[in-house]
């Protein structure tokens, strides 16, 4: 049976891991390659690198990083942040990234999803969606969740699938950073609506939150940052408990 995936997410700025990483026995917690190797050894199923560099020039350092990660890490990884063209994707895949994640650029020009999935295959195109629940409705937000749009989450998710996305990474702005659990109701609705895998993001605080997002939220994968970076939830412990609760994981 296909297992549920546990996905640590690393924020990268100018080729270095951004603050907030406090790993045991690490020489250099700022080095994404060292961290990525550590996570692979500790049982992570996949990794996401989010480039938050401010300028295009600094982004080029991302290519070197991707190349080094691909060289040394033996599990799949996704690269996101500032990707807006076929050339961007071509460069990253050539450096060894397995998947790329696009967000604002897809909202601004939805045809980009079609172009990328036709050229590179759906399997490597992840569309990240940041959304916030306002009243009874979920609205898509841009630029790391700071800019609201009038696009409705579920309509956008369906469109993204129809245009050829291979996977959706859904972050709830209402839950992100709260450590109060994932947006399971919206996640379950998304999972029923589309037939591509859904990665849950935003709200991980406890092991039970992960179990809930797989069981109640029907998520295919769960992404988190700080609970892993600070060692609050060791991945092996998490997976053992998930298995005990009947969630299939790779152990």
């Amino acid at each position: 049976m296909l297992t549920k995936r546990i996905v640590p997410c690393l924020d990268i700025k100018d080729g270095r891991t951004v603050k907030g990483v406090n790993f045991v026995d690490l020489r250099d917690a700022g080095d994404p390659v060292v961290l990525a190797k550590q996570y692979a050894d500790l049982g992570a199923d996949e990794l996401v690198f989010l480039d938050i560099s401010a300028t295009q020039e600094k982004r080029r350092t991302m290519h070197d990083m991707v190349l080094k990660v691909a060289e040394q890490v033996n599990i799949p990884f996704t690269v996101g942040g500032g990707i807006s063209s076929i050339e961007d994707v071509d460069d990253l895949l050539h450096c060894g990234a397995d998947k790329v994640s696009i967000n604002s650029s897809a909202v601004k020009r939805p045809g980009l999803i079609n172009e990328l999935s036709q050229k590179f295959g759906s399997q490597c195109i992840v569309v990240a969606i940041d959304a916030k629940k306002i009243g009874e409705e979920w609205f898509v937000h841009l630029a790391g969740g700071t800019i609201p749009t009038d696009i409705k989450l579920f309509e956008w998710a369906k469109e993204v699938e129809d245009r050829g996305a291979g996977e959706i990474l859904f972050t709830s702005m209402n839950h992100d950073g709260t450590k109060g659990g994932f947006a399971n109701e919206a996640l379950a609705k998304l999972s029923d609506l589309v037939n591509i895998p859904i990665i849950a993001s935003g709200g991980a605080g406890t092991i039970q939150h992960f179990a809930d997002t797989f069981k109640l939220g029907k998520a295919d994968a769960a992404l988190a940052a700080s609970v892993f970076h600070f060692g609050e939830i060791p991945i092996i412990e998490l997976k053992k408990e998930l298995r005990k609760q009947g969630v299939e994981v790779r152990l």
Binding site: A70, Q72, N74, I75, P76, G121, Q123, G166, N195, P197
Partner: protein, 193 residues
């Protein structure tokens, strides 16, 4: 060891090269039939859409070469699928090395299958030291039907062939280059065949 990766424009080739590099081997890309035919071992990769990959293969004349190779050949992902008789993807005729057909998963499951799945019914030296409890990383929308040449099966809606063997030809649906230490063990086994 002379290890060649068939380079016909379809593939996640960098990751495969890096995986061999981690094992201490230099895998060289080649689309030159004279070089490929002389290699000790050949890797036939592939990612993307079947009919366009087959077109690229034909354009380089490699479609005729691959079935004639005598050394161990390992097809990975789409590479394995193209070694079968036929694939539903783009209604594409394959190389006919493996006597099975490739079909699309139904919409009763999420497509593509993406992630780690267990490999079972292991039947080949390719899996030396690898137990039935292990997992491999897969990303695919199409699967090879279970058949006599299956050397591993996986379960996603149905049991399908996740690895195949016929004489010197091997194929794996999963990505050993992305499947952690277990995947590296499989690549090592292939090199030691």
């Amino acid at each position: 060891m002379d290890l060649k990766i068939v380079n016909y424009g379809a593939g996640n080739i960098k990751s495969i090269q890096f995986a061999f590099q981690r094992l201490g081997y230099d895998a060289v890309l080649s689309n030159n039939p004279d070089e490929i035919i002389k290699a000790d071992k050949v890797i036939f990769p592939g990612v993307g859409e079947a009919s366009s990959a087959m077109k690229m293969l034909r354009a380089s004349g490699l479609d005729a070469l691959i079935p004639q190779l005598k050394q161990p050949v390992l097809g990975i992902c789409l590479g394995m699928q193209l070694m079968c008789n036929h694939t539903e993807e783009g209604n594409t005729k394959g190389l006919g090395i493996f006597n099975t057909n490739v079909k699309r998963f139904s919409n009763n499951v999420k497509v593509p299958q993406m992630g780690w799945n267990r490999i079972k019914n292991l039947k080949s030296g390719l899996f030396k030291g690898i137990s039935e409890k292990e997992y491999m990383y897969l990303v695919h929308s199409y699967y090879a039907e279970d058949c006599d040449e299956s050397i591993a099966t996986s379960d996603y809606e149905i049991d399908y062939a996740s690895a195949l063997e016929n004489d010197n030809f091997f194929g794996v649906q999963f990505h050993p280059e992305k499947s952690g230490k277990i995947g590296e063990q499989l690549l090592k086994n292939f090199l030691e065949l």
